[in-house]
Amino acid sequence: MNFLDQIWLIPLFPLFGAVVMLLFGSKLDPQPASDVAVAPGVELTHDGHEAAHHHHGHTHEHAHEHVTGHDHHGGGLKTVVSLLCPGMVLLSLIWSAGAVLQLANVPERSHEVIQFTWLAGLPFHMAGGRLATFSADWGFLLDPLSSVMILVVTGIGFLIHVYSTGYMAHDNGYYRFFGYLNLFVFFMLMLVLANNYALMFVGWEGVGLCSYLLIGFYFHKKSAGDAGKKAFVVNRVGDAGFILGMLLMFSVLGTVKFVDVRQILGSGNFRAETAGFGVLSTMALLLFIGATGKSAQIPLYVWLPDAMEGPTPVSALIHAATMVTAGVYMVARSAALYQLTPHTSTIVASVGAFTAILAATIALVQNDIKRVLAYSTVSQLGYMFLALGVGAYWVAIFHLFTHAFFKALLFLGSGSVIHAVSGEQDMRRMGGLKDKIPITHWTMFVAALAIAGIPGFAGFFSKDEILWQAYSSQQGSNALYVVGLLTAGLTAFYMWRLMHMTFYGRSRVAPEIEAHIHESPASMTVPLTLLAIGSVLAGWIGTPRLWGMSGWFRGFEQWLEPSFASAAVEAVKEGAHDASTEGILMGVSIALALIGIGIARYCYHIRPEIPGAIEARCGPIHRTLSNKWYVDEIYDFLFVNGFAKGGGTLLGAFDRNVIDGGVNGAGWFTRFSSSFSIWWDTWIVDGTVRLTSLLVKVSSYPVRIVQTGRVQAYALFVVVGALAFFGYYLAR
């Protein structure tokens, strides 16, 4: 079968699933839709603090149900959903794998399938005289870069779907959840398979929509609705940057097609903007603003921690495997542009490094298990941008790849923990869970080692490569390296703080919950196990050059080479530094990771009173970190209440009083002048007329007396007149 020509099918499978669910799902759903909000307690067993405190009765029952079986209520129809939606993603995975295998045999490692023209304009001359046509195809591009992405999206996405069949088994919005999930996978695949920026933007905005729907999944909770909206609006700010970058790109380059953009930028007509901040740098910066929104970088990272309102598998899908990596993918996709814009690249690297360390500091003090992971994600994404900024594009994608495994595992594992303790998310009420939920513990143990950067586990390979590139590449610097290194230490610490607070030491679980702690069903533990295997193996395809391995062990870089091949990357790869330096740096980062783990163990296991003492001693610092550096408050003050609501209120008043006031004033003036006209008309104009008529009337009064209309009277007048005449005549 020729999978290569069928890559357009890959996104369509999950779309089919989504359409079926959203159109006919209510028919498959065992319960009437109106029950969704009537029984919030049932849903809150998975997410939310209230469950643990207010719904003990419910939660215990449901906790038992979790163990005993899945199709308890819902029956066969629910099985249809459980088979259809993950099945569709599995089909995508099969088609993706097939296409990627066939791509390996294509010499140029690039295959395009164009279906129809989506947007088209007329040809016109660019400033340089070149003829350009505005057009964006509904077309798909499979190359090494997108092949990595589709495998991550469909592979991890499939595992998360399977996990969700267990995790969401007792949720009333089951079909709706899977509909959104499938829709999300559809848009994500559009994003990574599109062959031009405009179509990429379809997926880009689409995943934003799905995150809005999924984060606000429990929409009767105000916090969920708020978080969903925040995610969408903050992303919109980034999207505006993306779209402006795209507009500028078309205005300058005359195309938004990836292949053409790369070809035009590489044609020699455009030089690297080393001197100043030119049009290409602006374009790259605007695109990067888009990336900061989707990939939760400073200044637009604020939506991601709040997005924990969504069900846990959503966090895994959105935060770990897929959506947040969209920005990294986009910048990597624009590598040809960023290679020409060193200034913007420096900004990218700096923002990445700063985000990495800022988020890591916040993660140090969070007590909500999912929030620690959320800030950890922000921090890890910072690493990826650091790599992109120093020109190590393949390394960023490599970290994206390994991170997808261990971060999805951490999120799903945390979901399993939350599941076990009946919805509790506060790590201060956990502890000692190691033996009660062994599979969850051991899989998360692997993930924690991976993210901490312990050699042999996936995170080590990619993170170490990033640090090495930050130090050695031409774009890199010692400052970037040091920040990255510190972050690595902090990461090891907060992640093992999480492990200790959750799994080790004395149990702090409420006694009534304690009795019902149980391992999750196989539908959840099997994906955890597979991800754990991935979290070990995924790194071995990108071993350090220092280790001198070849073939598969260096396969990742070689596979991606056609996507980034250029002189700049070659230079980065060679590096200006020798092997001994690389070895020393690697030792330093391993040592720091071990120290971080050690401190975490000391503070949270051996001497558990220490954190409280530190908290008491360093109140202001702790408060600042707990409140996430007050960034949300500042944004609220400036943008939400200041610009949007304040501006809106002010302009609303302006509209009513000034503009409409002017209109109503004109109306009033018209009425006034018409009243005046009436007065004038009545008393002056008409008055004159009436005065005249009055005069006529008065002067005619004597005449009127005699004009009675009676013939006898006239006859009398005639007689009297005649007599008077004759009298006068006779008298004379």
Partner: protein, 515 residues
């Protein structure tokens, strides 16, 4: 007698037919109106499919003398620009009839008669090729709308109706002066002849003359669009109008203004248009941001949607006066998009009002629980309105922004702020109305869509998706006509046109609109 004459005559016949039905037979009246409206719609589809890409200028032309002296023609024809607006009118009229089926229960006969008369006037405006005929239709469309607001509206309907009428009249009387002035100079009302005379040098205006004429037309159109700061009639008219009135007003009547700008201002007064363009664009951008910000704080759903229209129509004006092919294409596409998505929003707000009898956002909440179908339709419409790709509005906004970016990148930057804000106010509206806890009043009264309402809303959703994904069905005729108009607007321009000449896409003889 061409198909266009039939499309134009059908609503008028429908109007008369409805008048003939005795007023007690309300069901017969509704059915008569519905049948006529659907037949008109089906007939109008023939215009789009029958539009030939080879024939330059207007098609389906009829040109007969209507009044001998001064010579006024019944001269109608359609092209890639007007044909979609005609179809938009005929598409929305049956939907308006459907959603009024139960909600209009007094003076039923007059209501449907006026609705069909309105359709007649609107189609007439878009197909007239005689300046005087255009003016007549322009005023004809005004009258039924005045009564729709004034009789079937809400509490402040009289104020709103009078305000609407006076605003529009103030503009159109200026336009009438302009039309008569042109007649005095050209000796004809025939638009194609006037354009030929302008091209051939037989007719020319001095810069001062042209500027005044441009302003006379422009102000009439700008009020109708409405362009900031001439927009304040719009929120009042929308809030007070019955649902069908709001839909027709927002979806089609506002387009009369934008259509007028493209059809008359650009080709007849290219020099003045280009001179004023920077100022007009500033107003358009103010409108985009201002409308969005004011929409954000409105407590009334209809007012919110009305202000969002000010914002969306700002994009249309921005596209028109960017004087780029993409901008103009995007503007026309955005006109159609706004017709579909804002029309749908008004339909849905009307359905909510029918149930809960309130337009105040604060009276709602948790509708998603009470009426999931309605919520889904509303959500898709909201997403279309905020410009989500794969739905219609995105295409228009994107093309407009691209056109603006080519003309002046800063314009695009400012306009992009409107894109952000649209998500803020629409999603906030959606959250407050549909999410959260369900108050008892909502749970008791807000039931889900019935079959009739599904029939009325699904076509709108289908159009949103179709226009968002497969633009090839709609864009090519628009592009062809806009190309001709843009070429026309380069004639008789005294200062140099910045853009270099376009590549030949149409043959030279096709460039001229008309002959």
């Amino acid at each position: 007698m061409s198909l266009l004459d039939i499309v134009l005559a059908l609503p008028l016949l429908g109007f008369l037919a409805v008048l003939l039905v005795p007023r007690q037979n309300e069901e017969t009246i509704r059915r008569t109106a519905m049948v006529i409206a659907v037949v008109t719609f089906l007939a109008s589809i023939g215009l789009a499919t029958g539009l030939s890409s080879d024939v330059p200028g207007p098609q389906f032309v009829t040109d007969v003398i209507w009044i001998a002296f001064p010579e006024i023609h019944y001269h109608v024809g359609t092209d890639g620009l007007s044909v979609w607006l005609v179809i938009l009118s005929t598409f929305l009229t049956p939907i308006c009839i459907l959603i009024s089926w139960r909600s209009i229960d007094k003076r039923v006969k007059e209501f449907y008669a006026f609705l069909l008369l309105l359709e007649f006037g609107l189609i007439g405006v878009f197909v007239s090729l005689d300046l005087f005929l255009f003016y007549v239709f322009w005023e004809v469309s005004l009258v039924p709308m005045y009564f729709l607001i004034g009789i079937w509206g809400h509490e402040r309907r009289i104020y709103a109706a009078v305000k609407f009428f006076l605003y529009t009249m103030a503009g159109s009387s200026l336009m009438l002066v302009g039309i008569i002035y042109i007649y005095n100079r050209a000796g004809t009302f025939n638009y194609t002849t006037i354009l030929d005379m302008l091209n051939g040098g037989k007719l020319g205006f001095t810069p001062g003359e042209e500027m005044l004429l441009f302003l006379a037309f422009f102000i009439a159109f700008a009020i109708k669009v409405p362009l900031f700061p001439l927009h304040t009639w719009l929120p009042d008219a929308h809030v007070e109008a019955p649902t069908a009135g709001s839909v027709m007003l927002a979806s089609v009547m506002l387009k009369m203004g934008a259509y007028g700008l493209i059809r008359y201002c650009l080709p007849m007064f290219p020099d003045a248009s280009r001179r004023c363009a920077p100022w007009i664009i500033v107003l358009a951008i103010i409108g985009i941001i201002y409308g969005a910000l004011v929409a954000m704080v409105q407590p009334n759903m209809k007012k919110l949607v009305a202000y969002s229209s000010v914002s969306h129509l700002g994009f249309v004006v921005l596209g028109i006066f960017s004087f780029t092919q993409l901008g103009l294409d995007g503007a026309v596409y955005q006109m159609l998009n706004h017709g579909i998505s804002t029309g749908a929003l008004f339909v849905l707000v009307g359905l909510l009002y029918e149930r809960r009898h309130s337009l105040e956002i604060a009276d709602y909440g948790g509708v998603a629980t009470a009426a999931p179908g309605l919520s889904t339709v509303f959500l898709i419409t909201t997403l279309a309105s905020v410009g989500l790709p794969m739905l219609n509005n995105f295409v228009g906004e994107y093309l407009v922004l691209q056109g603006a970016a080519q003309a002046n990148f800063r314009w695009a930057v400012f306009a992009a702020i409107g894109v952000i804000l649209s998500a803020c106010y629409m999603l906030w509206l959606y959250q407050r109305v549909f999410y959260g806890d369900t108050p008892e009043a909502v749970a008791d009264h807000v039931h889900d869509l019935n079959h009739r309402e599904w029939v009325a809303t699904v076509p709108l959703l289908a159009m949103m998706l179709w226009m968002g994904v497969y633009t090839a069905s709609f864009l090519p005729p628009i592009t062809r006509t806009n190309y001709a108009i843009l070429e026309q607007s380069k004639m008789n321009v005294r200062f140099r046109v910045a853009a270099p000449p376009h590549a030949p896409y149409l043959s030279a003889r096709e460039v001229r609109l008309g002959r």
